[in-house]
Every structure is written in structure tokens, then in C-alpha cells.
């Protein structure tokens, strides 16, 4: 019985492969975009995890000392029973790239990357000692092909890119620190009753890494952004699935009734339908996860570049297949299908055995239902607003976005119906009146697709506005901020002094860029000293400042802070800030500092040098009228390596490159979402057209040609989409506003001015109409070619 009944249910799909394709493709696309984002996020987080957890497991506490830990400290701690292991870190410059060299002691390390652990027992001489082999990520290894001055390298999974892990003896040789220890890591489990560290090695301070690490927290907001996009795409996809499933159930109502009359128990029927949906969802989910994997693989390099450029977070560009997100993707596909089919299944369960067997007009929503839906939309608006007030800024911002978008989508059908009713009441002639009325009748059937379109278009407008506003602001800011023509870095203090002497007669000005690390508001930050020079007074991108700020700062009596620090620490002008332990200055100005994840303070160079005697004096900005010639002179006459000199243009190009890549992913996801919405529209039109013969036949019979009918259908589709696009523009602007003023501030720490780009609106409008025309084209052609006999059948079958 089960097989026969299932065969009958499935035969529906065989007869309507298009509907099956719609369902599968819709669910597949939804799952694909969602799982692509998940895959990217998972990969990135795994990279942070690896970076933080050099020794496996959670990041470990470290002991550090001013000027480094001594061997004596280390031996004393070990001999007292403390399980500590030395780490020596430093930077290696190889073929123009900077690599982080991390020397570890495999004999005492609390845990080892698996490749090193395996080598330790298999061939210990390979990895111990000054002549040993070092390990790096496969993609880093690829960039080091043939580089001189490096030990033999072996690729090892699990090492973050840009890092080389080696035995501490090898690292000590490469870094020229034969007894150097940067820090001691503490094993997570220590024997009990140990004497306090302070008694054994008084100079050491214990550092606990912040949960998840700085990188993970900084990038959280970026990933939340992506996740929000993934969910939006998924929601758009679910509209399609809901539509396809609803249609399939409606069309099978008579069959379901027959099956029951012929003796299939209701419970078996529901179980079969559920099994059918879940099987389809499983297939679509598997396809979607596969597609998502491909999409993620294509996008990941850009994401990795963004994360590196914006946050300094190293993410491997290669995507690993991870069961976690694949299973997550499948679960989401199943859940989504269950969600989309829930109401249909409920209706089947409630359907009386002897109800009328005619298929109801597909999802014919009554005026009351439309009003209820619109009310729900308004409630979502309100909820979003409330959430944005009540929740932390980023979550609140996204809640506001969600409420705004979904609320607007829910209100859309009522707005459309109301608009059409108004048109109908004004129409005098017969055909226009029919047109208005008939269009209104179509709204429920098209509403899901139009809602998807609204969301996609609003996102296009909103994200477009945000990116363009950002670009405009950012390029202007770069021009201000990068005022020096050349930026040079000395390798040693002596070279720095010689460099200043060399440049003094040759350049218009030499502006030291010297800084010291500090911690502000619980996070790593940098304090810069700068020389008082018109370059700063004329160009620096000040957002707000006291009237006398430059003079005050020049005298060492005040400091400037960047916007993100001011926002995070809630700093206002005039407020005192403890810049270094025991050194506070009032804040005289706040400047914009896009692209920098960290807090920054600027103050007088002399004042900073007085506070930090051993301030590294290596970096300088150089003002010059002939930067190219000066660069030549620095290289050939002074002997500075070319990679120690950066010109303004290349920094700008680099910064803009980072910027563009930041939004590559956003743009790509946006296009994909728009594609999904277009697909929803197409399937909705196709479905409707197959049901429209009974409505069109009487009009045709009254003397309108098929061609004319087709044209009317096309125009109507374009008008519906156009109207939707018109609504999408203000919605998109609202979205952009939230993104710029709420989400950006929370995610990146800076607020951006909003610019409007009416051309983008036209583009959105055009896209919508184009999508509608394309989607309506196929059914229109079909209609124009429908033989008159089919129209006649409508009357013949009329009962």
C-alpha cells in the first residue's frame, strides 16, 4: 500500500518536472548561499583558532618579562615544578614578505602541531637542533619557493599562513638570539602546591589571552555581517520553496482526497508526504552544500585578503571540507523545507475527506489575511526598533535590519493590493478595469516572489549606497591621511639617525612616525609621537577638535585619539586618557582612521620620547617635491633596501585594494541573492500562467487577441515589479542608513557619512523591470502561441 500510494504521490513530480526543479533549485540555492557563508566563517574561525592555539586546545597563559625572559628564570621555574615551555618569536623578512618565526621547544611544549609531534617520535634529529627542518602552512611554503636564508621547510596543515614554526634552537640561530626567550607558555595543568612564580622569578608577569583572542573578537563583526547575508539569501530562497511546495500540495489536493477515499489512512498519507519532502530536501541540501562549497572556495581568497588587510588576521585561502558546516547546511535545508511545508501539511491534515475536490486558487489570500500579514509586518518593524534600543549595538543593528526587511516584505502585498484597488476605482473603460481587477487577483499568487524581489532589491540599494558612501569617504580620507610623499623605515637605530641626517638637506621635511604599544580600554593600542608640522595641521582628517588642539598637542599638553578608540572607550573632548601607565593627557581631538582595527593615540613626539626612552626611531614620513629622485638617492646613495621605502601612491593603491576586496564578497552575495529573487519571480510567473487560462479565456472570447493578451501580461508583470522596486528604494536607503550609522560603528568602530546615488536607484528599478520582463517572457510567449482550441476547452470543461 505504501509503495503504491508513494508512487502516486511521486508521479505528480514526474508529470511536472518544472515544479520539481523549482523546488529543488530553490532549496539548493538557499542552502548553497547559506552554507557558503558558513563554510567561509568556519574556515576563518578555524584559522584564528589555529593561530591562537599554537599548542593545541585553548590558548595558553604566558609569562613575559621586560626585555625578555632569561634562561635562569626558565630553569628555576622548571626546577620548582612549573610546567612552562619557552617560545622565541621574531619576524623574518624573506623575498619582500614578512614571516612570523616561532621557535618552540618540542621537548617541553604542552602540545605540538600534529606534524611536529609525529616527526618528534619518528625522526627527532629532523626537527631538533640548529640544522633542523621548520614547518609552515602549505600556501606559505608555495610563496617561498627558492627563497634564500631559510631552513629546509616542510608543509604542515594546522599552521596559520605567514608563520614558520621551528625548533627554538633553529629560531634562535635565525633571529640571532642564542639564549632568547620571548615568553614562557604555561601548560594548562600544573602540579599542586607549587611555590608562587613571583618568588621564583620576580620579573615575570603572567598574561592570560583574552577569550577567543583579539583577532577573533575583531573579526566577529565581519563574520556576523556575512552570516546576516547568508540568512537573507536563505530567506529569499525559502520564499521560492514555500511557493513550490504550496503549489504542489494545492495541485495534489484532489489526488490526496482520492487516495484517502480509496483507503489510504490519513496518518500514512501525512507520513508519506513528510518523507517525500524530507527526501527532496535531502537531495537539494546535498546539492546546495556542494554548490556552497564551490561558492565558498571561489570567495574565500577575497575574504582572506580582506581579513588580512583589515584586521591582520591570517586565514588560509584553501577551503577544507568540514563535516560540521556540511551537516549544518543539510540541517538547514531540512529545517527550511519543514518550515516551508509546515502550513501545507497542516492543511492536508485538516482537510475533510469529503471536501470539494477542486483545486482552490493557489494560496488565495483574503483581504483579511493580507491585513493580518501587514499587521505582523508592522509588529516586526516595531520589534526591530525595540531590539535596536535594547540589545548591544551590533546585534541590535541586525535586529533592526531584520525587522525592517521582513516587516516591509510582509506589508508589501497589502500595499500592492491597495494601490491596485485605487487604480481600479479610477478606471472607466472595460479593459483597463479588468486589467486592474485581474492584476489585483494575481497579487496573492505573486506576493511571495515579489517579497523576495523586494528584499533583494532593497539589499542592492542599501549595500550599494553603503559601499559607495564608504568608497567616497575612504578615498578622500586617504588623500588627507597620506600626506607624505615617501615613507621610509630604517633597519636599526643607527641607520635611522643616519637616515635623518641624510634626508635633512634633501627633503622638504622629515616627519618621524614613532610609536609605542600600549593597552587602552582593555585592548592593544598604539601611541604615536609626531612632530608639529603644517602637514598635519593642513591635512589630518579631524572629525572634531578643540580650537587650540594643534598647539596644545605640540606642547605635549594634549593628545588626539582615533574615532574607533573614542567610540569604544566612550571618550569625549577634554576628557583625560591614561595613555601609558602613569601618563595621562586630555583629549583635544578625534580623527577618522578607517581600516585600522586598533585604537590609536597621537601626541607630541618629544612628550612621547620622554615617557618611552627606548622608543624605536625607525619610521619616517618624508615630504618632498621630487619623491622619485629622492627614492633613487635613498637606494643608490644611502643604501636603503628598496622594500624599506614605500611611496604614497602604492600605499593608496594597497589601501584601496583592501577596501575593494572587503566588499567583493558582499557584492558577490548580493548578486547571487538577486539571482535567487529573479528565479523566484520566474517560477511564480510560470506557475501563474499555467493557471490563468480560465481567467484569460473569457477576455479572449470577448475579442482581445492572444498577442494583445500576451502584451498585457508582460506590461502587468513589469508594472508589478516596477512598483515593488519603487518601494525597495526607500527600504534600501533605510537599510544603508542602519548599515552606516549602526552596524559599521559597531563592527568597525567608525561612522560614515551617507551619500545617495540616484543612478543606483534607476539601476535597481531597471533590474527589477528587466527581471520581471524576462520572467514573464516565457509564459507570455506560451500564451501567445496557445491554440484557440485550448481556450475553448476552458468553456467545455466548465462545470
Amino acid at each position: 500500500m505504501i509503495r503504491t500510494a508513494l508512487g502516486a504521490l511521486l508521479s505528480h513530480w514526474r508529470r511536472r518536472p518544472g515544479q520539481l526543479a523549482t523546488l529543488l533549485i530553490g532549496l539548493m540555492l538557499a542552502t548553497a548561499l547559506f552554507s557558503a557563508v558558513q563554510a567561509i566563517n568556519t574556515e576563518a574561525r578555524a584559522s584564528y583558532g589555529r593561530a591562537a592555539a599554537l599548542f593545541g586546545g585553548a590558548p595558553l597563559d604566558s609569562l613575559r618579562a621586560e626585555g625578555g625572559v632569561t634562561l635562569a628564570d626558565y630553569a628555576a621555574l622548571r626546577r620548582a615544578g612549573w610546567r612552562v615551555s619557552p617560545v622565541l618569536e621574531g619576524d623574518l623578512r624573506v623575498t619582500g614578505q614578512s614571516l612570523r618565526l616561532i621557535g618552540i621547544d618540542p621537548l617541553t611544549a604542552p602540545a605540538l602541531p600534529s606534524a611536529i609531534g609525529a616527526a618528534l617520535t619518528r625522526a627527532p634529529t629532523d626537527i631538533l637542533g640548529t640544522g633542523a627542518m621548520a614547518f609552515t602552512a602549505p600556501q606559505t611554503l608555495a610563496t617561498l619557493e627558492g627563497a634564500a636564508g631559510l631552513p629546509p621547510l616542510r608543509a604542515a596543515e594546522g599552521i596559520p599562513p605567514g608563520r614558520i614554526i621551528a625548533d627554538i634552537a633553529l629560531a634562535a640561530r635565525l633571529l640571532g638570539q642564542p639564549s632568547g626567550i620571548t615568553r614562557l607558555v604555561l601548560a594548562p595543568e600544573q602540579p599542586s602546591n607549587l611555590p608562587p612564580i613571583a618568588e621564583i622569578a620576580p620579573g615575570l608577569t603572567r598574561e592570560t589571552p583574552e577569550a577567543g583572542g583579539d583577532i577573533a573578537r575583531l573579526t566577529d563583526s565581519f563574520h556576523l555581517n556575512l552570516t546576516a547575508f547568508g540568512l537573507l539569501s536563505f530567506a529569499v530562497g525559502l520564499f521560492i520553496v514555500h511557493g513550490a511546495i504550496g503549489l504542489a500540495f494545492e495541485q495534489r489536493r484532489p489526488m490526496l482526497r482520492s487516495l484517502r477515499a480509496l483507503g489510504v489512512p490519513l496518518r500514512s498519507l501525512i507520513a508519506l508526504l513528510l518523507a517525500e519532502i524530507m527526501t527532496l530536501a535531502l537531495i537539494a541540501g546535498a546539492l546546495g552544500v556542494t554548490l556552497g562549497y564551490l561558492v565558498a572556495g571561489a570567495l574565500l581568497p577575497d575574504v582572506a585578503a580582506t581579513l588580512r588587510g583589515l584586521y591582520g588576521a591570517e586565514v588560509s585561502g584553501g577551503l577544507q571540507f568540514r563535516p560540521a558546516w556540511a551537516l549544518g547546511g543539510l540541517a538547514v535545508a531540512l529545517g527550511g523545507a519543514a518550515l516551508a511545508s509546515g502550513s501545507s501539511l497542516w492543511r492536508v491534515a485538516q482537510m475533510p475527506l469529503l471536501s470539494a475536490a477542486q483545486p482552490r486558487a493557489w494560496a488565495r489570500a483574503s483581504g483579511a489575511a493580507l491585513r493580518r500579514q501587514a499587521l505582523a509586518g508592522a509588529a516586526l518593524f516595531a520589534l526591530g526598533l525595540l531590539a535596536s534600543l535594547a540589545l548591544p549595538s551590533l546585534t541590535g543593528g541586525f535586529a533592526l535590519l531584520a525587522g525592517l526587511l521582513i516587516g516591509a516584505a510582509l506589508i508589501l502585498p497589502m500595499l500592492l493590493t491597495a494601490g491596485l484597488a485605487l487604480g481600479q476605482s479610477r478606471a472607466k473603460a472595460g479593459l483597463p478595469q479588468w486589467l486592474w481587477a485581474d492584476t489585483r487577483q494575481q497579487v496573492p499568487g505573486l506576493s511571495l516572489a515579489l517579497m523576495a524581489l523586494l528584499l533583494a532589491l532593497a539589499t542592492t540599494v542599501g549595500v550599494g549606497t553603503m559601499v559607495s558612501s564608504f568608497r567616497l569617504t575612504f578615498t578622500g580620507w586617504l588623500d588627507q591621511r597620506l600626506a607624505s610623499e615617501l615613507y621610509v623605515t630604517a633597519r636599526t637605530e643607527e641607520e635611522g639617525a643616519a637616515l635623518r641626517a641624510f634626508l635633512a638637506p634633501r627633503a622638504d621635511a622629515v616627519l618621524p612616525i614613532w610609536s609605542a604599544p600600549t593597552r587602552l580600554n582593555g585592548r592593544a593600542a598604539e601611541v604615536y609621537g609626531f612632530a608639529d608640522h603644517p602637514t598635519y595641521r593642513d591635512n589630518w582628517p579631524i572629525l572634531s577638535g578643540l580650537p587650540e588642539m594643534w598647539d596644545q598637542v605640540a606642547r605635549g599638553e594634549a593628545a588626539l585619539v582615533n574615532e574607533q578608540l573614542a567610540r569604544r572607550a566612550d571618550l569625549t573632548l577634554g576628557q583625560n586618557l591614561e595613555i601609558l601607565p602613569g601618563w595621562s593627557l586630555p583629549i583635544a581631538g578625534i580623527y577618522s582612521d578607517y581600516g585600522n582595527p586598533e585604537g590609536q593615540v597621537m601626541t607630541s613626539l618629544t612628550a612621547l620620547a620622554a615617557q618611552v626612552p627606548n622608543l624605536p626611531r625607525l619610521r619616517h614620513g618624508v615630504r618632498s617635491n621630487s619623491p622619485a629622485a629622492l627614492r633613487e638617492a635613498l637606494i643608490s646613495d644611502f643604501g636603503l633596501p628598496p622594500d624599506a621605502i614605500t611611496d604614497q601612491a602604492s600605499i593608496k593603491a594597497f589601501s584601496l585594494g583592501v577596501f575593494e576586496r572587503t566588499f567583493t564578497v558582499t557584492a558577490a552575495l548580493n548578486v547571487l541573492t538577486l539571482g535567487v529573487a529573479g528565479f523566484a519571480l520566474l517560477t511564480a510567473f510560470l506557475t501563474l500562467s499555467s493557471m490563468r487560462l480560465p481567467q484569460l479565456a473569457p477576455v479572449w472570447a470577448q475579442g482581445i487577441t492572444r498577442r494583445r493578451l500576451g502584451q498585457i501580461e508582460l506590461a502587468r508583470s513589469a508594472a508589478l515589479a516596477g512598483f515593488t522596486a519603487l518601494l525597495a528604494i526607500p527600504l534600501g536607503l533605510a537599510l544603508a542608513w542602519v548599515l552606516l550609522k549602526v552596524v559599521n560603528v559597531a563592527a568597525f568602530g567608525w561612522e560614515l557619512p551617507m551619500f545617495v546615488f540616484p543612478l543606483q536607484w534607476l539601476l535597481a528599478l531597471g533590474l527589477a523591470v528587466l527581471a520581471a520582463l524576462l520572467a514573464a517572457w516565457i509564459p507570455m510567449r506560451r500564451l501567445a502561441r496557445t491554440p484557440p482550441a485550448r481556450f475553448l476547452q476552458v468553456f467545455a470543461h466548465e462545470r
Partner: protein
């Protein structure tokens, strides 16, 4: 002579899986000093490390008895191994140190391992007063010429603190401390102190136990102790109740009978080296432990000394699950003589 834990000290040399004998002990001695026949041992200098030789150890085993007569065994070992000859301050130092400590009861076997690199002070050996240490584990000289030692170590679930005292002089194994290890002539420098009286405290999960007993020190250094065809060994140190001490071993060959050797030491310290024919070790009973089958009961015969005894492990589970694993534990002696001792088995 004590070829015993040579495998472990060589952990850094090569892979266990090669055909070059257990733990790669058969490797060449490139750049390292090689023991030469006729080199006199001088003390206290030779208590210190010999960094020009590849491997070296300070090895103590103790047979102890609790107030209720329960047998206990204690092991304290510091191995030194070099990736290159010589010594240096800091990370360039090519020496690697490894410590093994164990406490065996009839029902439990606790053990621990520590690793350290040279040049840091985390582990090492120092003179005046003598000290050998790795992390918190220590072997401290409290008198001249290793006559008195204080021994401490601890690991998960156990700890011990013992004092060792011996009267007679050090025993030079082989030919005045030059100990041949194979038919091919590989050799080491090797001396022992088998006559310690031990007392102290064991700390077990159940609580502290005061103990007394005997202990045995082996000191050995070499660069190439095994021939390439040797796959492992069985080694015993026996303290007979009549005061005599016996050291014996069988080096198992790949395709040949085992190479036997040993020493009989009279109660007054007179040592007689045994030629390969004068001692035999024969497995009597096997036991399964840690997925391997090992002989935990042996017959040891020295026909020339009218000794024919059976030795039986106090706890057959005395498996050292360390970087390079082996079996090491206390034994009870019965047969023509009675007494206690230690058994070590490698390469199983």
C-alpha cells in the same frame, strides 16, 4: 656492564622502525668520541657528564620493603643524548636530557618521563657536591665518590624520597670499566655501585609508606653501544641474600644466538667478569601486558658459581610507557639462592 637503557638515551638518533636495532642504537658514531680499551676511569671527574660521547646515563634501581613486608621497586634515571658532540650555552647546545622515574608495587606501576634540552639549566649534572637533575627530580651527592645520595622524583600518582649509602668502592665493569657490548667489539665505559642500603618514604595514592632496602647505581657512557644486528636485550641486576651481586644480560641478535655477558661481585666488592658461556638467561613464563607478550619469569644459571635461580617479576605490568617504551621492574629470586633484583627488557 649495563647496556640497559641505552635505547632510550638514543631516542634522538633515528627511527625505531629502521633495521638498525632497537631505537636506532646501531648507528654510527660520526664526530663523537669512541671508548678506547685501557683508558683509566678517574673520579670524581667521571661522575660528571661526557658531552663528547653520544649517550650517557645515571641509573638507579632500588628493591624496597614496606613495614608489612610488601615488595616495592623504584627507578630513577637521567639519560643524556647528544645530536652533536660538545656543549654550548643557550639554545645551540646539542645535548638532550631525558628523565624516567618509576615506582612499582605488586599491584601498580607508576611512572613518569621528563625531557629537557641542554644549555638551559633545566637538566644536567654538576660537581661539588655532585648533583644530577631534571626539573624537580634530583640525585644529590651527600658524601664523596657517590657513597651517599639523596634521591627524589615525583609523577602523576606517586613520589619518592630516598637516601642511599654504600660502603665498598665503586665496581668497574668489564676490563677496568671498558665493557664490550657485542661480538663486533662495540663497547662502553661502565661502572656501578651495587651495594647501597636504601631508606626513605614512598608516596602512593593510598598514602605514605616508610621503606628500607637495597639500591644499585649504573653509570655508563658510549657512542655506539650496539651492533647493527642486535634487536634488544634482557638485563638483570640481582642482590643475593648471601651478599653477592650479579649483573647479567643477553643481547638478542637478529639471526644468531643472544650475546650473553655479566659480572659476579662478591660481598667485599671483588668483581669477576663473566665470559659469554658462563651465564645464561632462559625465559620461563610469558605475560601479556600493554598488548605485548613478555617473559616475566626467567631462569638464570651461572654453573661456574653454582648459581641456578628463578627470577619472577613482582608486578608483570611494569611497562614503561615512555617515548621509547620498555619493561623495567623489581623481581624476587628463588632456587639455589634467594634475594631480590631488577629486570629490564627492551625490543619487545
Amino acid at each position: 656492564m649495563n647496556v640497559k637503557a641505552a635505547f632510550a638515551a638514543l631516542l634522538l638518533m633515528a627511527a625505531q622502525a629502521t633495521a638498525q636495532g632497537f631505537a636506532g642504537l646501531g648507528t654510527q658514531a660520526e664526530g663523537f668520541a669512541v671508548p678506547e680499551r685501557g683508558t683509566p676511569l678517574t673520579f670524581p671527574q667521571d661522575h660528571q657528564a661526557h658531552p663528547d660521547y653520544r649517550i650517557e646515563w645515571w641509573y638507579i634501581t632500588a628493591n624496597l620493603t614496606g613495614p608489612d613486608g610488601t615488595d616495592y621497586g623504584v627507578q630513577w634515571t637521567l639519560f643524556r643524548s647528544a645530536t652533536a658532540p660538545g656543549t654550548d650555552e643557550g639554545w645551540q647546545n646539542p645535548q638532550v636530557w631525558m628523565g624516567h622515574a618509576a615506582l612499582t608495587t605488586p599491584t601498580a606501576h607508576h611512572h613518569a618521563e621528563r625531557l629537557a634540552r641542554g644549555g638551559t639549566g633545566q637538566a644536567g649534572v654538576a660537581p661539588a657536591p655532585f648533583a644530577a637533575w631534571i626539573d624537580t627530580w634530583q640525585m644529590l651527592g651527600t658524601g664523596p665518590d657517590m657513597d651517599s645520595l639523596a634521591l627524589t622524583a615525583e609523577g602523576e600518582g606517586f613520589a619518592y624520597a630516598l637516601t642511599l649509602n654504600a660502603e665498598p668502592p665503586l665496581i668497574l665493569q668489564g676490563e677496568a670499566g671498558y665493557s664490550v657490548k657485542s661480538r663486533d667489539g662495540q663497547a662502553s665505559f661502565y661502572y656501578s655501585q651495587p651495594f647501597y642500603q636504601a631508606q626513605g618514604t614512598l608516596t602512593l595514592p593510598e598514602g605514605e609508606v616508610p621503606v628500607t632496602g637495597t639500591a644499585w647505581l649504573d653509570r655508563e657512557w658510549s657512542s655506539q653501544p650496539l651492533s647493527e644486528s642486535q634487536t634488544g636485550w634482557d638485563w638483570v641486576s640481582l642482590s643475593l641474600d648471601d651478599g653477592r651481586r650479579i649483573m647479567g644480560f643477553a643481547l638478542r641478535e637478529e639471526d644468531a644466538p643472544a650475546f650473553h655477558s655479566g659480572t659476579v661481585i662478591e660481598a667485599d666488592g671483588t668483581a669477576t667478569p663473566l665470559s659469554p658461556e658462563e651465564i645464561t638467561l632462559t625465559p620461563l613464563a610469558m605475560a601479556q601486558t600493554h598488548g605485548r607478550s613478555l617473559p616475566v619469569e626467567w631462569q638464570v644459571t651461572l654453573p661456574g658459581h653454582s648459581i641456578d635461580v628463578t627470577i619472577k617479576a613482582v608486578n608483570p605490568e611494569a611497562w614503561m610507557d615512555t617515548t621509547f617504551p620498555y619493561w623495567e621492574g623489581p623481581v624476587r629470586i628463588s632456587g639455589s639462592h634467594t634475594g631480590r633484583g631488577y629486570l629490564e627488557m627492551t625490543g619487545y
